[in-house]
Symmetry: C2
Subunit: 137 residues, 2 copies
Amino acid sequence: MLSALDHVGVAVEEIDAALPFYRDVLGLELVHRETVAAQGVHAALLDVGGGHVELLAPIEADSGIARFLARQGAGLHHVAYRVEDIEAVLRALAAAGVRLIDDRPRPGIRGSRVAFVHPSATGGVLSEIVQPAEPSN
Amino acid sequence: MLSALDHVGVAVEEIDAALPFYRDVLGLELVHRETVAAQGVHAALLDVGGGHVELLAPIEADSGIARFLARQGAGLHHVAYRVEDIEAVLRALAAAGVRLIDDRPRPGIRGSRVAFVHPSATGGVLSEIVQPAEPSN
């Protein structure tokens, strides 16, 4: 059902302040930047093998990422699993009684379709499933 | 320097209480269980693509995982990056002035060698580098 660890989402105050560590010290390639207005975030993707680190910084003070930062500071925000058929996975999760934040896919970064599972269903881990726009290399 | 997302570490109160969601609902294969006394944890590895989810439950009340659970509850604990030469990566990080928890590798789960980078160096993310005992399939 899940084909890979797609990414970890990391909440940061400012993308440009976090980039030097990930790009220059860890040597990860910055492959994409995007502002996802619907989620209230600036985002940056850095490749690591077939997955990536997704840095997330708030656009505005009432976004989910801003509340996360206010509550617990910068750090790991979510984990995302790659899937091939997001509708099928959502149906399976719903059939298993899993509490979902999104019961249907919504647009994600870089043309993907994504849905979040509620942390109460996963033992406290905000978890995302993501169907990439096209097969990853 | 980093070749893949190796795993995400998830702090849980009890491995057996967390397993049904990851194994039976998400369908991940449970591939390993181990008690790592030096880290004060019971651990379970579930495969997802070439990476895995590592469930971690405390052995005793004064372990790092127990303190994490007391402070913020169950949830994402760390991210681990796979490396091919852990000594070389540690040397590069030290040369870049990165604050390390472990300045030399120590034994990890399933025969791996691991080292942790201090969250103050990574923007709040407890980060691990891991050299597997043998090449992953």
